[in-house]
């Protein structure tokens, strides 16, 4: 029986459980100097002067200013974005957000660095501010005056069809904000670098993308790629925020090279909160039209994306939101227009979901508003408009081609699991009794895109002298369990138990190329690459076995249950991998049992239905999330235990956006939620147990039938909870609550409805 599809416990667990993980900060680096950044205290200011004398009076302290470090992180990563909005790694003339680096302190240890950074005196001349994207889009205050606009990128069609909503009985409108979030990986960013005796530079980075960092940092810092090695050891979470190196990593590598001494940096949490790029920050002005009998006809979405002070990939995300605008519905006409603007706030990046949560929040809220407007159960409106299960591949009005799905089946499964009819009855009972604790039921039916760039990933399998195997993958695990999943995938093809298979990743010397991990793509391309390499190794092994058994390679078969090769129809004589490796090794031909495979595939579209049940105290606005049923379909599951863990974490992140978290700036651009004390990261006491239900609709995009599961939970959960809160408040005339639906925002919405 195949190991695939089993709840296999993780191979990587013991080192984490014993405290033996290899996070960058755990690296012993003899004689390393510590980097401490001096960061701007103002959101927009001319830098008049930086006085380093008091700091440099401390023993063994050096301070670098912008002019000393001639490095730019380069243009925004996507050519359609405004290429002139570049970040100098150290701000020399102008600081554009609270947290912008204005000087770099080098010291023998962390404590001295903190002391010295406080002694660096920066003279600022404040400039007018554009903190909110709504202000920035007016172009009254410019972050880059020489460019003449704050617009960093545009998305969608710019032409309006004035007849878009012709034929609609009803058009509902609302403006939603998918608020700014902090990714909060438990391990903050950390980097170290040194120049070896051979002149090569090695950088250890807490990153999701060691190979991309290798490429980007070698270009940025000016190191020949062959003279540069990136090692991503164990990484304590990334959630998208570690999918591109920042100014900090570039400075660390530059300093190590410039000084010829090892250099290291680990940010503090409070530093991470203001400087590690944030996520979301999207405003959506929406209109959805259809008929009184519940058929959706036309949808218009105007996106205003906050790109932060230095635009990165987030300035492009409205394109991804546009691509998924249709959600799971057959909507004949959709118009999207998006604009991304720079603001005097921290840069933004891809954070778990990245562009897809916004699309899902938009359409799922609007479908509920539409249902309320025509007086129809939101379940019914969804059923009437789902893309039918026999319509795949299905091309949406905004150009996405969905691969496979059965939305109706997912909805039925979720409705049964939650007990929808009973909940509606209970809701009515409470209302009849004049409750102050309103029950709300919210549905979110979603789809999303994984492996969104349709990338190629690298895999290599080599047989070791003892007959085990090593998988080298260009994918990277920072919590996703690749050491187990990829061992299962390769092991199934090789007929080896996972205990005999090691997975190597994250070191650009051990793995020649790779794309890292983001966009929920690892198993579908990285897993497939490992599988392809394993298959090629098996073919090579058959040739060698044929030589030893005096048979044609074409007649040799691998019994994957026993892990033994024999001639077809003749179980004996047979050679196990260990026996084969021994003989091949004796002939000095072990190298032949090694194969590389690059696997490329188009994007896939997981889907599901989440249903949330909340209790809202209409006197205080407090929301109690009681249940969250999550039906998620990411195609075939290789390891349901790990997939479920991804769903749990994803749902948690989605609920955190729905009810708790928001990164807030005041009008002066000062962060108000810059620590774990005031940023509302939920604890175990703030959330319920999750009710995760798996569905498996294989994708045709790869032979395993797998899609991605890392972000689905996040994408599905937020609108389910949001809809549940609005459902609870429907008797009070409330049709809009800002995210997060915390007590304050719910209470305000109730007061406004009363007024």
């Amino acid at each position: 029986m195949s190991i695939l599809g089993n709840r296999v416990l993780r191979k990587e667990d013991p080192r984490f459980l014993r405290g033996e993980a290899t996070y960058v900060e755990n690296l012993l680096l003899e004689g390393a100097l510590t980097v401490t950044f001096v960061r701007s205290l103002l959101a927009h200011a001319r830098i008049v002067g930086v006085d380093t004398s008091a700091a440099e009076a401390l023993p063994d302290v050096q301070v670098f200013k912008g002019d000393d470090i001639d490095v730019s992180t380069g243009p925004p990563p996507i050519p359609v974005l405004e290429q002139r909005m570049r970040r100098p790694v150290v701000a020399t003339d102008v600081a554009r957000f609270v947290g912008d680096i204005v000087a770099v302190v080098l010291s023998p240890d962390r404590a001295t660095g903190a002391d010295a950074a406080e002694l660096v005196s920066v003279e600022y001349d404040p400039l007018p501010l554009a903190v909110s994207p709504g202000d920035a889009v007016k172009d009254e205050v410019l972050l880059y005056p020489e460019i003449g606009t704050n617009v960093a990128g545009r998305a969608g069609r710019m032409d309006h069809d004035p007849r878009l909503f012709d034929g609609c009985d009803v058009v509902v409108r609302d403006t939603l904000v998918s608020q700014r979030l902090a990714a909060c990986p438990l391990e903050v960013r950390s980097a170290a670098a040194e120049v070896g005796a051979d002149g090569r530079v090695t950088a250890w980075l807490s990153t999701q993308v060691p190979h991309r960092d290798h490429f980007g940092l070698s270009a940025t810092v000016g190191i020949d790629p062959g003279q540069f090695r990136v090692i991503a050891p164990d990484v304590g979470g990334g959630f998208g925020a570690k999918s591109a190196f920042g100014a900090e990593e570039a400075i660390v590598v530059w300093l190590a090279r410039h000084l010829g001494r090892p250099v290291r940096w680990t940010e503090t949490r409070s530093e991470s909160m203001i400087a590690l790029p944030h996520g979301r920050g999207q405003q959506l002005e929406l209109a959805l039209g259809g008929t009184r009998d519940g058929k959706l006809l036309a949808y218009r979405m105007d996106i205003l994306q906050d790109a932060g002070a230095y635009p990165g990939v987030t300035a492009f995300l409205p394109n991804l939101t546009a691509l998924l605008a249709s959600g799971v519905y057959a909507i004949p006409q959709i118009e999207v227009e998006g604009v991304s603007v720079v603001t005097n706030t921290a840069p933004l990046t891809t954070v778990r979901g990245a562009g897809r949560p916004e699309a899902t929040q938009a359409i799922e809220r609007m479908v509920d508003l539409f249902a309320a407007e025509i007086g129809m159960d939101p379940v019914e409106v969804r059923r009437k408009n789902f893309i039918a299960k026999d319509a795949f591949p299905y091309k949406t009005a905004t150009g996405a081609t969905y691969d496979s799905a059965d939305y109706e089946a997912a909805l039925e499964l979720a409705l049964r699991a939650v007990g929808y009819d009973e909940l509606r009855a209970e809701q009515q009972r409470r209302r009849d009794d004049g409750t102050k604790l309103e029950l709300g039921i919210g549905i979110s039916s979603y789809t999303e895109i994984t492996n969104p760039l349709g990338e190629e990933e690298y895999g290599e399998v080599e047989i070791t002298a003892d007959g085990g195997a090593i998988v080298h993958t260009g994918s990277f695990s920072h919590g996703q369990g690749h050491e187990t999943t990829f061992a299962m995938i390769a092991g199934e093809r090789l007929g080896l138990p996972i205990e005999k298979i090691a997975v190597v990743k994250g070191d650009t010397d051990d793995v020649p190329r790779g794309t890292g991990t983001f966009g929920s793509k690892s198993t579908q391309i990285g897993g497939m690459a490992a599988r392809g390499a394993a298959d090629e190794v098996v073919e090579r092994a058959k040739g060698l076995v044929g030589d030893y058994l005096e048979a044609s390679a074409a007649d040799v078969v691998l019994d994957t249950v026993l892990g033994r090769f024999h001639v077809v129809g003749t179980p004996q004589p047979a050679l196990s991998w260990a026996e084969l490796a021994e003989r091949v090794g004796a002939d000095a031909r072990l190298d032949e049992l090694k194969a590389q495979h690059d696997f490329m595939a188009p994007p896939t579209f997981p889907f599901g239905v989440h249903i949330a049940v909340v209790e809202v105290d209409v006197e205080t606005g407090k929301v109690d999330l009681q249940r969250l049923v999550a039906v998620d379909d990411a195609g075939t599951l290789v390891n349901p235990l790990i997939a479920e863990g991804q769903v749990h974490g994803g749902v948690f992140t989605g609920v955190a956006q729905a009810l708790y978290e928001e990164f807030v700036y005041d009008e002066e651009g000062n962060p108000l939620t810059g620590t774990f004390v005031n940023y509302a990261f939920p604890s175990s006491a703030d959330v319920p147990a999750w009710e995760a239900i798996e569905m498996e609709t294989p994708t045709p995009a790869n032979e395993l039938g797998v899609k991605g599961i890392g972000e689905s939970g996040t994408i599905g959960a937020t609108p389910a909870v949001w809809n549940a809160v609005l459902d609870a408040l429907s008797p009070y005339g409330v049709r809009h609550v800002d995210l997060p639906c915390n007590g304050e925002n719910v209470w305000r919405a109730l007061q406004e409805a009363k007024a």
Partner: protein, 154 residues
């Protein structure tokens, strides 16, 4: 400098430390015990939880000097070499860790929680561990692991 004497994982250590040095950096930098992680700078996340005289403590909240004369247990000292403590075993079996960064802190906090309350309810577990933050698991499997560890008599 202040002279500090602490017994860590059964072994007595003495060192001269800066009076401002936190226990977590004494453990990590002075003693080289890297298993205790630092996740924040406001005593919010619990990643650095260790046992001081048998009770769970966020080691970023205690000065090394305050631990003078104490017995400290870190994640490295929880189980004999090569073995897993029942709480560690339960975390493994329930898939209660993903990136693993919060894990040592959660394991130590759980050991202390079960010491005080050997068979906690789900509610008591969630409240008992609310000083520890996890970004990966949504806490679901952590709660299951604590329940499993309790059943195993950890």
């Amino acid at each position: 400098m202040t002279n500090v004497g602490v017994t860590v994982n059964g072994e007595r250590h003495e060192a001269d430390v800066e009076p401002r040095q936190l226990l977590v950096y004494f453990l990590r930098d002075t003693l080289g015990l890297k298993g205790t992680n630092v996740g924040c700078d406001t005593s919010s996340c619990g990643a650095c939880t260790v046992l001081v005289d048998g009770e769970s403590v966020k080691s970023c909240t205690v000065l090394a000097a305050q631990a003078d004369g104490s017995e400290v247990t870190t994640i490295e000292g929880l189980a004999p070499e090569g073995a897993l403590h029942p709480v560690q075993q339960a975390f493994h079996e329930q898939h209660a860790l993903q990136c693993g960064y919060c894990t040592p802190g959660f394991v130590m906090a759980t050991v202390s929680l079960l010491e005080e309350n050997p068979s906690p309810s789900e509610e008591e577990i969630r409240r008992g561990l609310e000083g520890n933050l996890c970004r990966c698991t949504g806490y679901h499997n952590i709660v299951l692991a604590v329940e499993a560890a309790a059943r195993a008599g950890a």
